[in-house]
Every structure is written in structure tokens, then in C-alpha cells.
Symmetry: C2
Subunit: 335 residues, 2 copies
């Protein structure tokens, strides 16, 4: 592919911005020569960071902005007021056709709202879901919607299922991905009004490989590829898993440190423990894409470092090269 | 308290029935002399188990039934058809004033539906929520509703909050328990339609100590005492936590066993690991009570053994001695 892919990066978003963001962008250039990265943010700070690195000047552009949206601001208000913030300017570049994708580790709320409102949805897409790759015992699954659209209706979930399948197949590389609906029971008749209504609709959808319900206890077993749910439940799954893993691991470490015997044992098991925990690290797959937009918006974790930024750039490139939006348009779009 | 508390136990429910159920009942008698236990089920099987033990014959009665509801049956149909099942007969004893409480480790669906339909709710209680004690870093919290009423409305959650507070204070023993609403953000304006509507109503309720939203990642930190949510979300929290803990622990064990160094270390850390995992064992607090009923119905885990049955008997006794239903009636009942 000879065409340059243009990625706007919110250089001011995240706990380690702009240092790690700029470093990640430069690192990405070493792996990809078909990309142009537009660093959006305070140009003085960005230039200072850039001066620390060697890179192909033609592949980086800096767009100066004067404002930053913080995580504590109400998203809708921040978007309306901070027109010259790094995030908003980056999102507008996609809307205006000056960039193909946006990456941001900034305020989740502002990225979600801004993505839907500024960048805009593909014609025919009713809601843009946030998807994220989660680690399982058998690799990874895609959790969709993990936080963008609360109170979703059945017709939204149908689209999420299809967009999730396309992403899982063509970006993550799982052929004919299995789609399962999160429910509090395995049988079709279980659950709340939403899942009861959407289940038969999913069964009739011939564009996906629907395998029925998945119970929350089985999500991390990895038997399915696309874990489908509405955003409130999806966010509960994502955040509870993060919180509980860290709680458990701390408790285990504390437990080991409470006796000499445990301390010695702890030192011995450390490498094995580290390998195990690495298994549950999904950061290799980039950030969380907001699907169904004109262009692509990738939300990264606030604590992302250069490595994660570099991987997210690769994720955007794969997304573009695989023509994900063309596939979504073909299957779900409206003229 | 001199009055005998009468507890009907579904002797046929659960993976280890009737052996462990009968043993647990007999064990409970060693701790309590103000209880009469009615074992409901196949009298031949129950009598055979009873003959293995020494106990005060006046404290045990056997009620013979001929049917059992299995976990694979549709609850509503099973309840209609299996009138002579151990569960239904036990529930009817509470309705008819022949018992004060029911304990069952059988089909969750049948216990939930049967509890609401057969035993009946306290006048003024709109829905009976399932509550369960969950282990946290700082002790235990009460998760309510963890599975009984999907598609609950705000007025139901208000009652759940109050009943959960009463249970936590008078059965578990936490003075003036803090109540938090599960939400996907800490601020009042976050969340779906249900939580947005119920938040200000909770703030105005002077019978509880409402402390605002709790994010799923913090549930197991133990900063709050009553974790309030509707049943779909509550069941996702409960089942995901069970599944993820077991997945993580298996992965860690497998990781240790994959090298000689890890194996030796694993042996050394075993006692510490065991203590840590025990910290996350909430079975000391009995089964999950269905609150707001005339009487009390306690759902035990299907894999409960004698110890859990014994503890559940104690839980029912405390519930009765503390007059929980009188307190609920006083605060929420209607004449």
C-alpha cells in the first residue's frame, strides 16, 4: 500500500503526555513508512520532545493548540468550550479529511462524546460502540460495547455484533469469530427485557456467527471471540475485572510477604507469576476503538506509555489497510 | 429467647444432598438449642443419613416428599407441576406458618420464583431482592440485588437499599452501614437512566447512609457496606468475580508448576496463598437471603457442604432473633 495513512495523535492526553506520546510516535515511524503522524498539542513542548529523537521529518507534522481537556471536566461542556484543545482539533482533522484516525489517552468521556459528535458516524450506523480487547485463558476476546452507549436498544446491539465481528476478523485476525451475548443464564429465555428481545434477532442475523449466551463467569475462559453487551454492563465487566485482578494480586503478594517462608517462596515464584500476569495483558492489541465512525478514534488507557502509543499506531494502520470502514459501510451502511 | 425457631431445610437441594445437608442440620443443633429443623425430602434417604448421627430427636422433624426440582428445569413450570417437591413443600410451610425460614441449595431460579410466589412478600414490599455477602479487602459487603429482579425500577432500588441496610446492620453487625450505588462513573450525572433517576432519590432517603456512586473497580476494596444495583448488573458482578478469581488462581498455579523453581517456590508460598484465599471466602456469613418476604428464604450455593448448612441455620436464627422482618415492616411495610 503506497498511500500514506495519516494519524492525528492527541499529544497532550494521558498521564505521561507529551513525553511518552511523542516517544511512542517516533518509535512507530521505525516500524512503518506508510504513515504520517500529526502531533496535536502545545508545539513548544512537542518540539522539545521531538528534538530528543531521530526520525524522518517528512513523517511528522506538529499542529499547535493552546488548550487541554482534563479528565475532571464534564465532557459535553469541555467540547463546547475548548475548541482549541488538542483532542478537539485532532477529531476535527478527521472530520475535515485531514487525518484518517485519532489516538488519544485523554478524558474517556470527551473522546467518546467528541468521537460521536465531531467526527461523525458512518451513514446508517445508529450508535458508535467502544470495543476493547480483553485477555482470556485462550487468547483474547473483543468486549463490545464496553462504555459508549448506555440504555442501548436491540437494534444497536445488532450493529455492535456485526462491527465487532468485522474488527475481530480483520484487525485481530480471528476467522469467522464467534459472537456471544452476555446474559445471567445460558438459556434463551433468561435475562432482562433487552437481551430477551435481541437474542432471537441475533440468531437470525446471517452476517455473524452467533453462538448464544455467555455467562459472566465464563467471559475470561475465552470460548467466544466477541463478547456482546450494552455499555453499562460492558463497563462493569471491564472495570470490575481490572479492579479485582489488582486486588487479588496485591492480596497474594501481601500474603507472601507476611512470613519468611512466604518471602523466599515469593522470590522463587516471581518469574512464573510475572509470565502468568503477562498472559493477561492485552495492551499488545492497542487501545479501544470507537467503531462505526467516519475514520477511526482509538481511546488509550490514561496510563499508556510509548509502547502502547506505538502499538496503537500499528492498530490504526491495520484498520485502514484492511478497509474496516468500507466493510462496515458495505454491511451496515445506508446511502 | 425461649421461643423455638423453626427452619425448613430442602434436604434434596444441592450437589451434596441429602448427605451433607443432613449432617449440617445435625451439626447446627450442637450450637443452638432454640431451633427446630424440619428436613423436607425423601424420608427413607433422610432417615438413613440421620441414623449415622447422634442428636436431640425433639429438634428434628422429617417431612416426606416424593419429587425434586432439578437445576435444569424451567422454574415457573417446575413450581406449577412439582407440588410435592422438597422445595415447594418447604416454602409452603413458611406460608402456612408452620416454619419461620427455608434453606435450600437447590435450583436458584426455583428458589427465587418460589420464594416470591409461594411464600409471599411483606405488605408494601414491591420486589424481594436477593442479597449476598461478598468478601472485600476490608471485611465483607452486601451485594443487593444480586439476581432476583431484572428490569427493576427506581422505587424497587430504594427498598433494596433500605432492606440491605437493615440486614447489614442487624445480621452482619455493621453500625450505620454505608450504601453505595453501582455506577460506571463516580459523579452524580453519570450512568444509565435507572441510576440517574434513583441517585437523587437515594440522597433524600433519611433511613439510610447513602455515600454516592461506587465504580465496579472499587467494589472489592470494601470502602462501602451495601453495594446497591439492579439484578442483571448484580449477577454480572457476582458471577464475574467468581469466574475471574478462579481463572486467575488456576493460571497462577499452572504458572508455578511449569518450572522446578516455581514448584519449590509454590510449596513455600502455599500456606500464605491459602490464608489469602480464605480471606476471600464469604461462606462464613451463610447463604444469600431473599429479603422482604413473609418469613425468610435463604439460597445456598449448589456446592454447599455441611459447614455451610450449619452456618446458614445460624444465619436464620440471627435473622429471627433480631426481628429483621419486623424492622422491614416498620420502615417499609403498608398496613
Amino acid at each position: 500500500m503506497s498511500q500514506m495513512i495519516r494519524i492525528a495523535i492527541d499529544a497532550m492526553g494521558g498521564d505521561y503526555a507529551p513525553v511518552e506520546v511523542v516517544k511512542g510516535a517516533v518509535d512507530a515511524l521505525k516500524e512503518h513508512n506508510n504513515v504520517k503522524i500529526i502531533l496535536v498539542g502545545d508545539s513548544t513542548e512537542i518540539d522539545r520532545e521531538l528534538s530528543q529523537h531521530e526520525y524522518n521529518k517528512k513523517q511528522i507534522e506538529v499542529v499547535h493548540t493552546t488548550q487541554v481537556i482534563s479528565c475532571n471536566e464534564a465532557p459535553v461542556e469541555a467540547i463546547r468550550k475548548k475548541k482549541d484543545s488538542s483532542l478537539i482539533v485532532a477529531l476535527k482533522m478527521v472530520k475535515e479529511g485531514k487525518a484518517d484516525a485519532v489516538i488519544s489517552a485523554g478524558s474517556t468521556g470527551a473522546v467518546l462524546v467528541g468521537g460521536q459528535v465531531i467526527t461523525g458516524k458512518i451513514r446508517g450506523i445508529k450508535r458508535a460502540p467502544l470495543a476493547t480487547v480483553i485477555p482470556t485463558m485462550k487468547g483474547v476476546s473483543l468486549l463490545i460495547d464496553c462504555g459508549a452507549n448506555v440504555d442501548a436498544r436491540p437494534e444497536h446491539l445488532l450493529q455492535f455484533a456485526q462491527m465487532g465481528s468485522i474488527y475481530m476478523e480483520h484487525v485481530i485476525g480471528v476467522k469467522n469469530p464467534k459472537v456471544s451475548l452476555v446474559n445471567i443464564g445460558a438459556e434463551e429465555a433468561k435475562g432482562n427485557a433487552l437481551v430477551k428481545e435481541v437474542y432471537p434477532m441475533l440468531k437470525e442475523l446471517d452476517t455473524i456467527h452467533f453462538t448464544g449466551n455467555i455467562e459472566p463467569r465464563d467471559v475470561f475462559e475465552g470460548e467466544t471471540n466477541v463478547v456482546l453487551c450494552e455499555a453499562f454492563v460492558g463497563n462493569v465487566i471491564l472495570k470490575l475485572a481490572e479492579g479485582l485482578s489488582s486486588t487479588l494480586i496485591h492480596a497474594i503478594k501481601d500474603g507472601m510477604m507476611s512470613s519468611t517462608r512466604g518471602k523466599i517462596g515469593g522470590l522463587l515464584v516471581k518469574p512464573a507469576l510475572k509470565d502468568t500476569l503477562k498472559m493477561f495483558d492485552a495492551s499488545e492489541y492497542g487501545g479501544a476503538p470507537l467503531l462505526g465512525l467516519n475514520g477511526l478514534v482509538v481511546k488509550m488507557h490514561g496510563n499508556s506509555k510509548a509502547k502502547e502509543v506505538r502499538i496503537a499506531v500499528g492498530q490504526c494502520i491495520t484498520f485502514m489497510e484492511q478497509g474496516i470502514n468500507e466493510k462496515i459501510r458495505e454491511q451496515l451502511g445506508r446511502r
